[in-house]
Symmetry: C2
Subunit: 332 residues, 2 copies
Amino acid sequence: MTNDDQSIGGRPTLKTIAFMTGLGISTVSQALKDGPDISKATRQRVQLIAKQIGYRPNRAGVRLRTGKTNVIALVLNTKEESMGLVSEMVYGISDTLSGTSYHLVVTPYSLSDPMEPIRYIVETGSADGIIISRTQPDDPRVGYLLDHGMPFATHGRTNMGVVHPYHDFDNQAFALEAVKILHGRGRKNIALLGPPPTLLYQRHTRSGFEAGLRAFDMREYWLGDIDTDAELAGIIARGRGLGQDEARPDGIICSAAISALAIGAGLTECGLRIGRDVDLVTKESSQLLSLMRPEIICITENFRAAGRDLARAVMAWIDGADPANFQFLAGP
Amino acid sequence: MTNDDQSIGGRPTLKTIAFMTGLGISTVSQALKDGPDISKATRQRVQLIAKQIGYRPNRAGVRLRTGKTNVIALVLNTKEESMGLVSEMVYGISDTLSGTSYHLVVTPYSLSDPMEPIRYIVETGSADGIIISRTQPDDPRVGYLLDHGMPFATHGRTNMGVVHPYHDFDNQAFALEAVKILHGRGRKNIALLGPPPTLLYQRHTRSGFEAGLRAFDMREYWLGDIDTDAELAGIIARGRGLGQDEARPDGIICSAAISALAIGAGLTECGLRIGRDVDLVTKESSQLLSLMRPEIICITENFRAAGRDLARAVMAWIDGADPANFQFLAGP
DNA sequence: TCGCGGGCCTGAATCGTTACAGTAATTCTA
DNA sequence: TAGAATTACTGTAACGATTCAGGCCCGCGA
């Protein structure tokens, strides 16, 4: 009842517009969302004023009343760092989110339990949708989120027989292509430094790799129990080991730029020249590597595009779209 | 009046605890924050139950009532990418924020207007504090935030005669140290590839650089109008140009790892060997460079520590601490 | 002319929290 | 022992938005 000082002061609210138009608050609310019960003239009038005074709905008000947070959470493992993955993903997501009402909350977890941040978000309802990465073949987070009806999208696929949005790089095609390139350069004995077996794309990578070997009649040099998640020092040491091995591979395929650099460093230490004695093909996500080591052959994975896709997917799912329509596989 | 189904169902609220304890809602609210009006016994009882049932205050409720968002906004320029700056900053900030009630919202802006995201946050009150980077000597954002009473911290200092929290790398000391290293390696003719003059740390860098030249009686090779913000291709070309210059510098100091790589790439193209024909000293922020290009001399800047400091500073300021106590200068 | 159904708008209730003004019951003061 | 002060707790009113059950007025059919 006390329409004191609506005209002046603070941020405009529905009350402000109601006061200015002489309408009721609920009318204004409906008019702003083009409710059919409101006459066209009134709707236009309200919307005009709202625009003029720069009205923006109070997020807390909306959230409290409707439960809609207008937040997308990006859940990252601190391990995550394929040279720029984080920044590219963030920028990609923001590309999509800008111009919408969504904000991006970044939630890293250093802990060993990947479920913890997920549970937190679901239990406190602090986001409308979640983007997760480092997806595992049988990822507990996916099951949990599905169970709890929380929209999400994964960077990488799962192997669970359930449908959910994802963006994945076609690592099978990548590995196949890499083998083909090495074959084209006359290489025969190929090593694969792939991702850890806990991540599904390890299987895709291996599958493409093996298909390539078969197709071009090449053989594998078995690298043993080492993957792109290993300590850099360990990878360098492995490179050194290769350098001293008579039966060393003449081609190496690598799933991460940084690991390629590391293994290359080890090889170089032994006096081997990349591009001559050994060929190195790697995935990379920025122009950096080609600068640092132009002799390393690069196949680009675009994390920014991934971020864009993932954000689009989550938003669409939140809006009720069919998640099956948002499964993206990016070619190399 | 209708205490229907408080015991079961959804997330616990104050009402749930009120129902369980038989107390009033406001009593519970006060008890949880150790209000002095509530008896010790009651406070403990309430807090015990709250913990047991995993009560967490509804952020929207708090935010609507108090205006406190429990959000720190990190405002980034998409240009930003000193190899891992974004991820390291994010992880650093999260280190500090984890365990508190704060969430981290990341707001990149690709637009030319750095004020836009700042205004948005202030006008919509969508954060309690802001962390900004790419600080300029006379930064309009700093003035604006000060005017509007929004706590913030800057990555880098300003030159405005106002006090605010910051974390800065001592670029003067870095440049001086770099010159000293080059002097120690017998170099005489030094080039500086510094940051763009719009950023204050360009001055610090130059100042340290010039002091070093004077102290060790060396001379500058003037690189001209190029800085670490330039296109990589341009920097590479400049490196190539240097390689072909008879009077080329025998030492180069670089403010960003990626630029060092670029200029190094240009030099290498001309057959020059880094570490022999030319020495290259650069700032870098990960172990990457020193591992992969050991011939480049690295001085490390720790962005994660910066993130930690900045988050601590903003939180402290929000809590009413004196901003003057949160000015950090990190040595090389 | 009466009643009924739309069209257009409004008030009240609600989401979860906090600030503030009470209100009993108890204890202290003179 | 009356009155004041203290202790311990409670009800109400916001914060800003949305939802929903009306309410009023008009035109139309019988």
